[in-house]
Symmetry: C2
Subunit: 300 residues, 2 copies
């Protein structure tokens, strides 16, 4: 599909994509670029990339495709730098978790930008934690604008379909509104409560960490996600996150009031409704059974 | 260890305990009692219990030990009803997730009550979802008072050790304070945000459910837990939960303010701190690797 591909940012997502390109034979040469020489070295040692470049421009020059897999905060700049040196007909795409601030980036005539978001990941970071199966059965959302080239969009769609993803298109604004509720707000809340526990008086804090189980353990896993990636997400999807946060706080206040008034009927009704939602999500097969998770991990 | 044991409430925990008693040969006859005839029938069909009793008194009479595995709201009453007919020297214990409202239950002379909380579970309910390995490597917290019999406490400790649990003792108040932060509050928050998503305008809600991934999927799993069990927990650990909720809300407001002001440094600092906490928890081996999870599921 491509003679030469550059992955700008060979972390969890970038290195997993590189592994897919290799497995599917979609690229002759897979190049890596990034700000961390250490990360690039690791990726090369792992055989994830064939060549490491210390500048995006050097790696993007004469590449057929560039995938920008940096934290959201550096995507616009990195796409611009790559596009500035890319040849006519080449495609640059990204994997950013926020799209409104990215989708409308301008590129030189004949260099095509396709904004994309493969909705996949783990709380781990770095090329050593990537694996080709990370994307399997997950959604990839493309957010093309009226300026986005249809042919280039079709090419990027095929890449993520080869990765095992179900690909859909929607507007950047709709994407960001959905992600705010579905991913950004839950992460913010997990980050919050884990921080709350860390501030407890010592005995209680040590007990919480020592006996950590059930809900809290799940929250700490979420709150173990990459700090820079998530900082950038909240700085780039501010309005949608703040709106979701407002709705959440109102609902939490309702439940707090029910607990204070010992209104068991209200609590049970609420909890029953959320359990039905869980069932619906499992029915639409958006959750991964443990067995599949192990399979994926095993294939790392 | 026991000639005859009654499990009052053969749901997820009760049926898993019954499977442990069977596997370890700790009981000659394993009886079940409960309010749902359907649940009792299932447990008997599964071979989890040898005999089903429609009243706790009938099953507790002449039993050497009774384990009350009902929702928290019915534990005090059920322990009392069992103890009222139990023979001298017999032991009644429970598995309640809240202890302050339970630990001080009075029993007739010679019938020993040992308040216990095996900290284990899944979001599933019912005897068909129980499995003997549910407790392995988890903590079991005993909350004996000055009135609790030392010998009986030692017996119950051995039962949970046979289940593979690490057993510790602490005061009921300390237990409830820790659980409020570590388990009850995270569940309340997960219940809240899943409910928030359910109230969104239709397109956004359907998108959230359709694309559910990452954080939100974890939350829906937590929010899929048994509504009655959790209603009772919040009605019985009200003060500790409300206190934790207050701390959480304050911290969330701080992060909300940082997002609104686009204070990236504050966000990154917070997220880095929570990641360190995650690392500490993984280091103390309180989290279960996927492989072990599959092993447990496979053994169901």
């Amino acid at each position: 599909m491509f003679k030469t591909v550059l992955i700008a940012g060979v972390g969890l997502i970038g290195s997993s994509l590189a592994r897919v390109l290799r497995r599917e034979g979609l690229a002759g040469e897979i190049r890596g670029a990034g700000r961390s020489a250490d990360t690039l070295r690791k990726a090369k040692e792992l055989g994830v990339i064939d060549a490491a470049f210390d500048s995006v421009e050097a790696g993007a020059k004469d590449a057929d495709a560039v995938f920008v897999c940096t934290p959201v905060g550096r995507i616009v700049e990195t796409v611009g730098r790559a596009a500035s040196v890319m040849k006519k007909g080449a495609i640059v795409s990204d994997v950013g978790s926020v799209k409104s601030t990215i989708a409308s980036v301008e590129t030189p005539d004949g260099v095509f930008f396709v904004p994309a978001h493969p909705v996949a990941g783990t709380e781990k970071s770095g090329p050593e934690n990537g694996f080709a199966e990370l994307f399997e059965g997950r959604w990839c959302i493309l957010t093309p604008t009226e300026k986005t080239d249809k042919g280039a969009t079709a090419v990027i769609r095929r890449v993520w379909e080869k990765a095992g993803m179900r690909v859909e298109e929607m507007s950047p604004e709709r994407h960001d509104r959905v992600m705010a509720l579905m991913s950004h707000l839950p992460h913010l809340i997990a980050y919050t409560i884990v921080g709350t526990a860390a501030d407890l008086e010592e005995q209680t804090r040590n007990d919480v960490l020592k006996y950590a189980a059930g809900g809290f353990r799940d929250f700490t896993r979420i709150a173990g996600s990459d700090p820079v990636m998530w900082r950038d997400i909240f700085l780039n999807n501010t309005d949608a996150v703040l709106d979701g946060l407002q709705r959440f706080t109102e609902d939490l206040t309702v439940l707090q009031r029910a607990i204070r008034r010992k209104d068991g009927a209200a609590l049970q009704e609420w909890f029953t409704r959320t359990r039905d939602i869980r069932r619906r999500i499992v029915e639409v097969r958006q959750d991964t059974p443990e067995s599949e998770k192990l399979l994926l991990k095993g294939k790392k």
